[in-house]
Amino acid sequence: MATKATSAEGSLDTGAEGVRRRDYLKVAAVSFAGVGGVVALAPLFVQMAPSADVLAMATTEVDISKIQAGQGIKAQWRKQPVFIRNLTPKEIAEADAVPLSSLRDPQTLAERTKPGKKNWLITLGVCTHLGCVPLGIGEGENRGPFGGYFCPCHGSEYDTAARIRQGPAPKNLFVPDYEFTSPTTVLIGGKGKK
């Protein structure tokens, strides 16, 4: 550095010592300003993330006492639909009969429900393809050929464990964090609570 500066600019500047001092000041000042500039950009970046009022609605408590076997309800959590379905023994048997190797996103029904509560299937009602709300939770809606959910947007078909079976969606319907606060109430987003 020193020799280069001397040979290149020695004739113009006061000497090797002066050039090095100036280089040092330049690099220090520009780095300092650069770091400061990046820090100043941080608020512009983080303001885009979900705000406190959005995060404050991160849990929802749902009463499930009225849901008969074979029925389901649509609740709302973080402004997204949540499907809560009380599976019939036949639907549970159907889900358990599927070999895991045939699944795109292999998971058993037991992994997707709470221990001893295998009939309560709680998933987001958001298709993992591009975010449409699948049909099948309401009475009389098209449940698709696998008896679970059917997304009308691009034809993704889910089975009775809300696992993807056919169509463009890459994943099973997402199972949110939840816990049974009593035998008839569910707190969705329990772990999301701060």
Partner: protein, 439 residues
């Protein structure tokens, strides 16, 4: 700016002379779109669409600023401020809103014709590569602006369009979902997403206007192209922009604005989707989600991947859709033929029209519910789109024998006139060179 014979600005009024010495803005305007910009004399009507795009950008900015004065960017108020307040109560609000809504469609129509003009006449080739690339930047900005504008009325299509389009980002592994949440400011489109889309929808048109200035600046260095693709050789090949092309652009703008007025007054919702008159409902997806017509070809490419192949189908779809536009940035180097104009490239010309048909079919495939037949047609035409740019174009440009080019623009123009003057019967004496000299 471009040619030595370009007339310099000579202010006549003392005030203008005073101004010119201090801030030569009138000089810049005169050299850009006045008598000081020499333009090839043989431009056909396809060269009117750049100016038209500028006119529609202006219409969008003006009507948009006024609409923003009456619009509420809240999830509770947006739908009613557009469909109640603006459409019913604000004086002339319905007209401004319909003008803005259809202005976007017309902006895209003229821009698509402008882009295909460039594709046919090789406007992307040296020395105008940057003009082409800046144009593509404008097009990408237009797409972002149009998408965010469509979200603002907060109807069903607005909401689910926002959901699906931001869902593209979640296709990327690991970082995708956090990016989507960051872009939306929540887990689904809501207040935060609506207000930031409004802010950006107001900002982007001015960025577009700035890039338009760069686009025109870069164009005026080599000067406008022309239908023969032959370079301008001397002063006889050009006419001053004003009054010749201001007049031609002016009357043609009148004709297109008449068509625009007919749509605004008599079929204002023809190009829209009825579901957007239903307020947004985060719990129910409309039976059929389709974007606005100008995105249909890209939507078809997005949907054309239905099975996983190494990467998930969803990621392929998103990558292909982005690639279909990014590809065009490399066009100046993909098409190596030294001949610019498609009129002198017999093989290229045929493939160009096949591409036009292919894009129209893609539009059809992307504009309706995904039946197996429509998907199959979409897949074939999406594959052909990439085949055209990645295989056909490089092959054609290396194997094709182009037709002989005219010696000059003037030569081609005068030859054309002579042929038109005597379409049948005995030809008059051929005095092509003589006329050219007189001219």
């Amino acid at each position: 700016m471009s040619f030595s014979w370009a007339k310099p600005y000579e202010p006549k009024h003392p005030l203008m002379r005073w101004l010119d010495e201090r801030l030569p803005l009138p000089r810049v305007v005169y050299g850009a779109i006045g008598g000081g910009y020499p333009v090839p004399r043989n431009l056909n009507y396809f060269w009117n669409f750049g100016v038209l795009a500028g006119i529609f950008l202006t219409i969008q900015i003006v009507t948009g600023i006024v609409l923003a004065m009456h619009y509420f960017a809240t999830t509770a108020g947006a739908f009613n401020s557009v469909n109640g307040l603006i459409m019913r109560d604000v004086n002339a609000g319905w007209l401004l809103r319909y003008a803005h809504m259809n202005g976007a469609s017309f902006f895209f129509i003229v821009t698509y014709i402008h882009i295909f003009r460039g594709l046919y006449y090789g406007s992307y080739k040296a020395p105008r590569e940057l003009v082409w690339m800046l144009g593509l930047v404008i097009y990408l900005l237009m797409m972002a602006t149009a998408f965010m504008g469509y979200v603002l009325p907060w109807g069903q299509m607005s909401y689910w369009g926002a959901q699906v389009i931001t869902g593209f980002f979640s296709a990327f592994p690991v970082v995708g979902e956090p990016i989507r949440i960051w872009l939306l400011g929540g887990y689904a489109p809501d207040e935060a997403a609506l207000t930031r889309f409004f802010s950006l929808h107001y900002l982007l048109p001015f960025i577009i206007a700035a890039v338009v200035i760069l686009h025109i600046w870069a164009l005026h260095i080599p000067g406008s192209g022309n239908p023969t693709g032959v370079d301008v050789k001397d002063e006889r090949d050009t006419l001053p922009f004003h009054p010749f092309y201001t007049a031609k652009d002016g009357w043609f703008a009148g004709a297109v604005l008449l068509a625009y007025a007919l749509v605004v007054y008599f079929a204002p919702n023809y190009l829209g989707h009825a579901d957007n008159y239903i307020p947004a409902n985060p719990l129910a997806t409309p039976a059929e989600i389709v974007p606005e017509w100008y995105f249909w070809p890209f939507y078809a490419i997005l949907r054309s991947f239905t099975f996983d192949f190494i990467l998930p189908a969803k990621l392929w779809g998103v990558l292909a859709m982005f690639a279909s536009i990014l590809l065009l940035f490399f066009l100046p180097w993909i098409d190596k033929s030294p001949v610019r104009s498609g009129s002198y490239r017999p093989v290229f010309k045929r493939f160009f029209w096949l591409l036009v048909i292919d894009v129209l079919i893609l539009g059809w495939a992307g504009g309706g519910a995904p039946t197996p037949f429509r998907n199959a047609v979409g897949q074939i035409s999406a594959a052909y789109y990439f085949l055209h740019f990645l295989v056909i174009l490089p092959l054609v440009s290396s194997f094709e024998t182009p037709l002989p080019l005219p010696k000059s623009i003037t030569d081609s123009v005068l030859h054309g006139e002579e042929a038109e003057a005597a379409p049948a019967g005995p030809k008059p004496r051929r005095k092509k060179t003589a006329t050219a000299v007189v001219e």
